[in-house]
Amino acid sequence: MMASVVANGNQDGQSLVLNGVDPETCMIVFKNHWAQVVKILEKHDPLRSSSMHPTLSVINLGVGSGGVHRFGPIPGDEASAVQNYVEHMLFLLMEEESGQGGCMGPILEFVVMENVMERLFVWSLRREFTDEMKLEQLKMYEMLVGQARQPLLHHKPILRPLMMLLSSCSGTAAPAVEAELVLLLNQLCCILAKDPSILELFFHTSEDQGATNFLIFSLLIPYIHREGTVGQQARDALLLIMSLSAENERVARHVVENTYFCPVLATGLSGLYSSLPTKLEVPNEEWHCLHKVDWMRMPSLVQFLNSLEFCNAVIQVAHPSIKDQLVAYIYNGFLVPVLAPALHKLTLEEVMTTTAYLDLFLRSISETSLLQTFLSFILLHQHESVYILDTLVSRINTPFQLGTVSMALFRTLIGFYCEDVMLQLILRYLIPCNHMMLSQRRVVRERDFYSTSAAKMLALTPSCCSPDHSPPPLRQLDSILFSKGGADTPNSSSTADEQKSFSEEDDSSGNSCTIGSEIYLDVSYLHYLYDARLSISSCIRACQVWSALYDAEDPPPEKYQPGVLEEPKLEGRQTQTALKRVPKLLVSNARSGLPRGEPPSIHQLELEWDDSYDACPVQTTETPVEGKPAHLSPSEPPKHIQEMRRTAIMLVKGSYIEENEFQDDVMVYNLVAKKDSSEAEHAEETQSDPAHAPLRNGLTLPTSLVSDNDKNSLKAKAKGQTDCNGNLQNATPVESGEDFLAQYEELICILDSEGRGKRVKGDRELNKPVSPVEEEEEEEMDFMSFTAETPEPEKLQSPFGTVQRLRSGSSNRCYSVPFTGPFISVLFSRLENMLTNPLHVNLLLTGILAQLAAYPQPLLRSFLLNTNLVFQPTVRSLYQVLATVKSQIEELSASRLDFPERITAAQHWLLAREASFTATDKGGSCGSRQQDGGRILKSSPPPKPKAISLDQTEVFATVLFAEFLKELSAITQEHSILSYIPVEE
């Protein structure tokens, strides 16, 4: 192609007309300058080669072997002479317009013919190739590329030296050079994005180096996770290439098959994650999630979020194959090896911190497939045989801040309107309809025409909270204008006339609209109705994409009796998906639970490399996991990969850094992995039989934590302890364990003494089906597992069985005990303790329940809101729990004379809080759209708050309780309308 262009140029050279400056003159000047330059160049040319095209491979070797000064230093005056000539020449080249019909201008043609750029580059290499020199050359090209009036990059004699320059610059640590390099790369990417036809040339040029390569891309990779402008420019540039990949199969294939892009991105996340603080400095007790103001103050977190955002952006624009690979790497390179262990760290603070991070990450992701990855990690991944989801759910019940942070995470999860999440959390337990009497199934879909459920709900309002009892302005009673249609017609006298005009006659005939008295309504209720309408209708809209109605018919309850929802099935499905999504490897690592036992360093590194380059994956079928690592680890990486790595290193020796950079990331990753493995070492002892693992986590018995205060309490405590710490007790039974246990018991004591007298029947029902002896043993076992150094396998069988079955709801024993799932159970048990919960806990809790109540699925809606539905005797309903709380409140208010007074004070306080809240929150903090029951007592002028201590949890809880009833009732009422509005066909 070039030959023809050149020939063309020769032919028409004389006839070209240039604008502005006389092109003839320009050409002559250019040629003269070049002649001068060549003189100097040849003088110092070691080969005195007459060849017009010195091959670059020669130069390569020269530089590589450090033979820069072979022929003695070049005199300074000669160097600067060349410098001057070149500057002029470049200016002329830049200013030259392209020739007729888009062919080369004469100067460009000359440059191409004489291979000017390449010879200049060789010249600069021959001299001392300092950072300064590199900077100079980079700027030169940046100017040329950016300002030339004709396309230059199409010409190999220009492109090739540029590539050489780029390669040679990549290794330097000098920030100035890096900045300039990335800037130039960014510019090149912009040009590529505009004119993808150059792409081929970029690939070809790289091929000259002996590898299929896309240099500018590879060069950018090391800067992916960089802070500041350089990092941003690099990421922007990479994104340009990513969107290019969506159109261009070749780019996509190259990125997937020949670069470390995805692994670097994913392992980079791991690296950045490891530099996050393991314990957050929490501002106060009420704090429960990371807001923007929080993370903006943490540079390491900002950096992590930048990278996460970048992943998100890549997934958004890149070719599906890149997207798939990246997502798989994030799952297997970040979530499973890093985040999962982090969620099971040693101390409450650490675990809480990880949970808060996870919540923040979820809120930061916008791309559905990335979200899917995170969600499937939460829902389906098992860390040491326990589902992440179960662990998270069990933590809701921790009385520590971990509990509220976990709740905040679930608030986020529920807010996704994700069928999969809701299915795992609640719906799967409701589908079989075992929680209600058989005859009640039709009631599920029944409509509450007359707001009877709402009325029943509101009837639970404690007497001390009746709106009549509170003085204005707390009593938000307004005369709502039910009277004679007056208010909106400004002229009230005319209203009276109207009234007359049609009511007189009506009156006499008994049709009458004449009741004239004003009615006083709780205005705040209008707000609840309004909010309910908004949240339900957006939920209905969102759930249109769901696969089923969940109305006790679809899916059919008979088909999904507990026995059908078998665990193994789930497992198989999961592995399948994983295999599909994780194209080549790491699957064994991620899934088996085995890998942590192995010395991870080299092994994993090799796996990593193998993974991305192995062209023919071994793993299309499920082979036993044990065999795999043995098969893979000793084998060398495929030849072409070794080749490529060598090229990467050798390109310009020592300067092309991708390898190094990547290795750094891998090292970080390995460190993390190593740490995990040591953490899990104890676990490993039992790991050989995976069945033993779950016993350590009494996790799946959701309410065990705060459940018993009877004679079994010690065991319960022990159980509770494992509850919130997963494996930790096994890992370090002596050091932190005892101390923690002591703290914990203290807390339990306090909690117990605070008159949480009535025990929840639901809690121990989990154990009911087990015979007394077995139960005894199980409890014993849980305790043992917690204290004993090495759990004894035989004994472990029984709790394992129970636990597993409970969670999957798949055993026969479970069949007989209707169970609405750990999540509901945990929420209810926290709700039952409302009076002892701090205000912020109750706000979160009621917020989550309100969120759930807004879901339109009849199964869920009827379970939470239909007070007419008859449940199985062992199933607790929301209404029952609320009724329990109400009676606690009534008892309390009867025994305390000053209760009403305190209630008023609390109402004032909340009102003031609300006012300040809306004032400061105008900007709208992220993720807090459900923020608290913030809408409480809206729209009134803030009164002066009376002094009341937040320690009086029962007072605040009472106020909140009454408001919560209104909220639920409003949701119930709106459901009776919105869920039945006919949909247009």
Binding site: K323, T368, S369, L371, Q372, L380, C418, E419, D420, I431, R447, F449, Y450, A454, A455, L477, D478, S479, L481, F482, S483, K484, G485, A487, D488, E498, Q499, S501, F502, E505, D506, D507, G510, N511, S512, C513, I515, E518, I519, L521, D522, L526, A542, C543, Q544, V545, W546, S547, A548, P555, Y560, K569, L570, R573, Q973, S976, I977, Y980, I981, E984
Partner: protein, 288 residues
């Protein structure tokens, strides 16, 4: 659907019917007190209108708050959505702006004796709904019909709904009944004995009276509604400036749902394969 209420006819207990009637006549306002339900004025403003949230100056002592009006309002909203769902042939209703207890309606009779009749009516719902009497249906112009009171225009609905039963009886049934009355004429215990007798004795004369009535009714079609309410039903001659655009909108409305769906896919997520209850069971997530 007729069976629902016509079946009730056989169980009529005259004393009950009369008792209810008398009560209504003497003091309609007090029925609510009797039922221990909070008093609700007929002219309740629909609470969905923010403008109606109002004047604190009216705050008086001694009044007690109640959620009763909210229950009533939502019950009536539920009834209204049911009516819409039924797609009753030739019947259109619209609740009044001022009170959810008053619905304006119009019925188009498409064949039979009353063919071409366009009868406007008003439905009055008792304020202790659904525990009171059945709603009343009053024609704006008394139609010549055995079951329509020649003076008040009220249709004898009660014979079909001797006892209004919550959950079983709904307002759409009353509307449906009003339609049926014009196709199957019943002369037993008439409110308009003259019409009943004529129908039995002199079909021709009855027919011509009906035709006259229909004509009269239609000649008043464009009259201003008797009640000054923004939601009252009023007819006007075809005016291209107004109606063409409205018609246009009605037709484009049908297309809207599709567009609507496209735009609304923003929020919800699902990777569950239909027919499965396993999360992430979809082979390939089409959402991505």
């Amino acid at each position: 659907p007729q069976g629902h209420w016509s079946a009730r006819e056989s169980t009529v207990r005259p004393d009950e019917e009369q008792g209810g009637h008398a009560d209504q006549k003497t003091s309609p306002a007090r029925t609510s007190h009797k039922k221990h339900l909070p008093p609700i004025p007929k002219n309740a403003v629909p609470i969905t209108k923010p403008a109606s949230v109002g004047t604190p100056s009216h705050l008086a002592n001694g009044t007690h708050a109640s959620y009763g009006p909210f229950y009533l309002e939502y019950s009536l909203m539920a009834e209204f959505t049911l009516v819409i769902k039924q797609k009753l042939p030739g019947i259109y209703v619209q609740p009044s702006y001022k009170s959810a207890l008053m619905w304006f309606g119009v019925i188009f009779i498409r064949h039979g004796l009353y063919q071409d009749g366009v009868f406007k009516f008003t439905v009055y719902i008792p304020d202790n709904y659904p525990d009171g009497e059945c709603p009343k249906l009053v024609f704006d112009t008394p139609v010549f019909h055995p079951l329509v009171d020649p003076v008040s225009g009220e249709l004898d609905v009660k014979r079909a709904f001797t006892k209004w039963r919550r959950n079983h009886n709904h307002i759409w049934q009353v509307l449906m009944y009003a339609r049926t009355v014009f196709y199957k004429i019943n002369t037993a215990e008439p409110l308009n004995p003259e019409a009943a007798v004529l129908y039995e004795k002199d079909g021709q004369l009855f027919k011509s009276k009906v035709v006259d009535g229909v004509k009269l009714c239609n000649s008043h079609l464009f009259d201003q509604p008797k009640v000054d309410d923004p939601f009252a039903i009023s007819f006007s001659p075809w005016n291209p400036a107004v109606h063409d655009e409205a018609k246009e909108r009605m037709f484009t409305f049908k297309r809207r749902p599709e567009e609507h769906h496209k735009g609304a896919q923003v929020s919800g997520l699902s990777w569950v394969k239909p027919g499965s209850t396993q999360p992430f069971s979809k082979v390939d997530s089409p959402q991505s």
